[in-house]
Amino acid sequence: MSSAEPQTLKQQVTLLDLVDRVLNKGVVLSGDITLSVADVDLVYVGLRVLLASVATLEEPRERLSADGARP
């Protein structure tokens, strides 16, 4: 990666930012159909496939778990 400018302020929305909000945040209502935690995990698995298909990924590092939490 090239060295960046001293500071950058970008407006950048990635699919991951969307997923982190749309799937993990927002009001959980007693809808007749709602996503379970297992469903959401499934989405992150799907997302991995999706991102791998659109982005050139480096070797995954092991520092963080799938949901982005620190170990």
């Binding site: 950048q12 990635t14 799937l23 945040k25 209502l29 989405v43």
Partner: protein, 280 residues
């Protein structure tokens, strides 16, 4: 889940997908005009007392619990639906404050949807009050290791000397010195991460109504080479000038240490609505 889930799934049966809830007096029917090409969702406003539910009629064949897991593993379906969910809410946000619902909140009938809006009216109005006139923005901080090391060399004589050694040394000695430099950078970085994250959050929080530190995004998901050291969400007034000024000034201050800030949003206030909405 609900007993209805065990009913046999009828093809063509309709569900009501709820994107979010707004105040009836603010929400504009503009949101019901067709969305951008590529999405097929037709948006409707269902008014119930002082509230409106922003909904689309969807096929239960597509959203029923029995088929949902399969859908969720279809990356293309998922991306399209997630983007549509956000797109609809952003259009609502142009005119009205909105309480965003979580992805795939679906009712089996309009009556159930209306019953929900009416039973949870108080909690929904309280949630709306909290986000009225405000939006969420995201701020992520990444560290560029090379610039961090260069910053260290500028401040610290030993570091500078070692950096010079590394650039002039040859053969095996060069390797050892480079290793030593890398280890020193890593150990400095160890303390810096948390300290910088705390400083960034405090400065931004002072310019916002509220704020949260979120979980860091996994590098294999973010696709970023630089390490993320902070991921925050802030509730700010719809006029974001003060917050963006604070952010620009902060970016200048931390830039010398190799930290880049990224702004996302404005978002519906996903992180500033209650997760559970109790009945009254």
């Amino acid at each position: 889940m609900s007993s209805a889930a065990t009913e046999p799934l009828r093809r063509n049966s309709v569900g009501w997908y709820l994107y979010g809830v707004a105040a009836a007096e603010d929400a504009s029917t503009r949101v019901t005009s067709p969305l951008a090409a590529g999405t097929e969702e037709e948006v409707e406003l269902v008014a119930e007392g002082p509230l409106v539910g922003v909904v689309s009629r969807v096929s239960l064949h597509e959203f029923d619990e029995s088929v949902l897991p399969e859908r969720l593993s279809d990356a293309n379906w998922l991306e399209q639906k997630i983007r549509a969910h956000e797109q609809v809410l952003e259009r609502v946000l142009e005119d009205a404050s909105v309480v965003p619902c979580r992805f795939c909140t679906v009712y089996r009938s309009e009556a159930e949807l209306r019953r929900f809006l009416s039973e949870r009216r108080g909690a929904l109005e309280a949630a709306l009050d909290r986000v009225r006139g405000k939006v969420e923005v995201g701020v992520k901080a990444f560290i560029d290791r090379d610039r961090f090391a260069a910053g260290l060399a500028k401040e610290n004589d030993d570091f500078r000397e070692l950096t010079v050694h590394v650039s002039t040394a040859e053969g095996g000695r060069a390797y050892l010195e480079r290793r030593r430099l890398e280890q020193l950078v890593a150990s400095e970085l160890e303390g810096f991460r948390g300290e910088a994250a705390g400083r960034i959050h405090a400065r931004l929080l002072a310019a916002a109504e509220d704020g949260l530190a979120l979980a860091l995004q996994a590098p294999e998901l973010s696709g970023r080479e630089e390490e993320m050291i902070f991921n925050g969400a802030y509730l700010v007034t719809a006029n974001r000038d003060a917050f963006e000024e604070a952010l620009a000034s902060l970016a200048r201050d931390v830039g010398g240490d190799g930290v880049d800030l990224e702004l996302t949003g404005p978002w519906p206030a996903y992180n500033f609505v209650p997760e559970e909405l109790g009945a009254e």
